[in-house]
Structure formats: C-alpha cells, structure tokens
Symmetry: C6
Subunit: 91 residues, 6 copies
C-alpha cells in the first residue's frame, strides 16, 4: 500500500489481485460472512502478493490475540458492507 | 486471513467456519448484541480454527485492557450492522 | 471473544451478559451518549465476565492516554449507532 | 469503560459526565467539527473523570504522533455522525 | 483531546481551530479527497495547536509505515463522510 | 498529516497528490476493490510524497502481519465507500 509491489501509483488500471470478486450478493448471511473474510484476505494479497511470505507470517498472527482481534475487525467492516449490499438478507 | 488456514485463496466457496449465522434479525437489542459478539468470535475462528489454540490465548487477552477494548470495538462494528438490519428495533 | 469464557461457540443462545439493553431509543443525545458508554462496557463484560479482574485493570487503562483514546473510539462507534437509531434526535 | 469509575454496570441511569450534549444540530460544518471534538473528549471523561489525571497525561499524547493520529480518528468517527445528523449542511 | 489545550470542557463554544471548513460539498472526488486530508489534519490541530511541535514530529510518523497507514485510515473515514455528503459525485 | 509536507494548513486548495481520482463509479466490484486500494495508497502519498522513502519502508510493513492487517483495514473502509457509491453493483 505504501509502495505496493506491482501496483503503479499512476492512473492506469492497477493489476487486479487475489481471488476475483464477481458480486457482493450472496444467498445467506453465512455466505456473506465467508465473502467478507475473502475480501479481507484480498486486501492483504494486494499489498503482499507473495503467498510464501504470507504463509510464513501465519505463525506470528495466528497465535497473537491482538492480531486475531485485528483480523476480526477487518472482517467486521467488510461484513457491514456485504450485509448492506444484501439488504441484510431481510425476507 | 493472511494465509488463513484451510481457506483456499482461489475462487471456490471458502469452508464456512464457526457457528453458522442463519439470520441477522433478532427480537431485541439484547439478542442483537449477543449476535454481534458471536460474529466477532466467528471472525477469529475463520483465521484460527484450532479451539485449543484460541483457549490457550485467553490468559493473554482477557487480562489485557487494550485487548479487551479492541474486542469491544469489533463487537461495536458488528452491533452497528445488526442494529441497522433490525431497523434499530424501533416499535 | 477468541474463546470467550462461558459463550459456547456452538449455535445455542449465548448467555446474555452485562447490563441488559432494553432499547436503543433515548430522549436526548446526552442519554444516547450514556447508552453508548454502557454498550462499550457490555462488549468488555461479554469477554471478561469477572468484575474483580476488570476493576483490577483500571489502574492500567485509566492512566494510559492511548487506552483512553481507544475507549473513546469504541464509544464513538456505538454513539454513531445510537444516534442513527434515534434519527439524530432531530426535532 | 472496563470498570469505569462511578458508572454502575447495573441497569440504573449512568451518571452523565462531561459537557452536556444538548443537540447534534449545528449551523456550520465548522461548528459540527468542534462538536465532534467535544464528543471525543466526553468519551474520555466518562472513563477518566479526574481532570487532573487527564491534564497530567497531556505531555504524553500531545507529543506522540500515533496518539495524535488516534485522536484524529475518533474525531473523524464523531464528525461522520454529526455530519449525517445535519444532512451534511447541504443548502 | 484528553485535556485538549485551550478547549474548555465546559459547555461554551470551543475555540475553532485549524483551517475553517466552509462546506463539505466539492466539485470532484479529487477535491473531496483533499478535503478529507484537511479534516484529518484539523483533528490533530485541535489537540496539538503548536505548529512547531507538529512539524517536529514529522520525522517520526512520515518514516513509520504503521503511522502512515494509520493516517491513511483517518483520511478514509473522512473521505467516506465527504463522499456521502456529495452523493458520491454521481452524474 | 500532522504537518503534512507541502499541504498548507491555511484555507487554500491543498496540492492534489497521488493518482487522481476521476470518479468513484466502477463497472464491477473487482474494479471497485482496486480503486479502494488506490485510495488507500493516495492517503499515504498525501502524507509522505517521497516515493523513494515509501519504497524504502516496504521491507518493514510487507513482512509484518499487523501492518498488512492494518492496510487491509484501510482498504475495507474505502471499499465500503466505493461499494455504496456504486449501489453495491446491484443488477
């Protein structure tokens, strides 16, 4: 993000990274939550495209309560967006 | 989340983790708050699926004021989403 | 939250904790702010149910500017929710 | 907030603290911003009611860039609430 | 913010600080982003009015990735407010 | 941001920095996500205009899980704004 690898800071179309996001519309809140997790991961992939580096970091954050809480916070923001997109899956 | 265990970064359906979320609609703000807590936990379970590891971390975060404040922050974001979903339980 | 004491991660009704939240509707912004503080505390109580532990931590966070700022941040998120619930107490 | 001094965690009306907030409606964005700052301070006063303690902490946070950025973040959340309350002061 | 210099915690009109914000309405997203940056700075000026102190801190935060990310986060919250104020500059 | 290089704190038009943002409207969620990343970077460029400094910092944040999570959080806030601008790309 500061000088994200690969993404030119000029006005061309930045290389699209991570799993594509075809739509924000999901059938259930459960699928909406899984999409929110995917979007959170995508935000990391855009900044650190090297899957080996990312896997190497897992030992740190997956055993650090503050990192786990921070991840849950990012998921909460994306879930708020996805829930609004799906009109909160109201019947 | 960086390289969440189990969740393929490809575009297949990520394994749905943690307690399922059937609906965001609740009868009262009190139940809405409990759902917000559950969603916050779900965000952690998605990243650290090992219940034993999570329990092992409790000693750290449950006695650290900054961790407790950070947890409350995640709950606040999810509660904002659940409250909007329920039209703020207006009569 | 990671393995919140008492709250089963299964899909049963989590034990409702802390002061009950009967409604988000308040008469004035002032009461709305007090409710936002109460909701922030409730988020902590859900994770650390032991009042003695919480009181014991006060010496740390109540004299740490960054903790106090973080608390104010959680209150701000809840106040945003309560203000929207009350249509911003517009006359 | 964890065990906020003075605020009973029971369901009685918490003591209202800090400068009262009569209304979220302001004449201009400038006044709205000043109100957002006041609300941010109020969130601190609710947790640390002792003005002498708060003043004593100023030397720490007012010279720490990360604390100053964190304060600005809380003001931004409250300003978002106040701006919505005033329909963004649209003519 | 905890005991912001100059701002009385009583209910009088707090001294208005930093560059005035005449309006949230801008012609383009680009100008809206610049306004969001200005609002972020204003939140700092309200807490640390001394320009010399603020400049003296630049060496710390402008070379600290986490501070730069935290600044970008505050700008993102203000940009969300300004974008909503301008109905997302939809044609 | 505290004393952002180049940006006068007076009320003149701050120098517009980083890749221009012509519009928030995108064809797909995927392009919306790429725009959210670009806006996150823009928030950094406004504060640290020196591309060499930014690149020099990459080694720190791109290998720090907490920095990567914090970046993803900023992207999530901007994506929430861009998604609302595009009415969640509902068909």
């Amino acid at each position: 993000m500061l000088a994200a690898s690969g993404i030119a800071l000029a006005d061309d179309k930045p290389a699209i990274k991570g799993p594509p996001v075809p739509s924000l519309i999901t059938g259930t809140p459960e699928e909406g939550f899984a999409l929110a997790v995917k979007l959170s991961q995508k935000g990391v992939v855009f900044t650190q495209a090297d899957a080996k580096v990312r896997s190497g970091l897992r030992g740190q954050y997956a055993n650090d309560p503050n990192s786990l809480i921070a991840v849950s916070h990012v998921v909460a923001v994306h879930f708020q967006t996805v829930a609004a997109a799906n009109n909160y899956w109201r019947k």
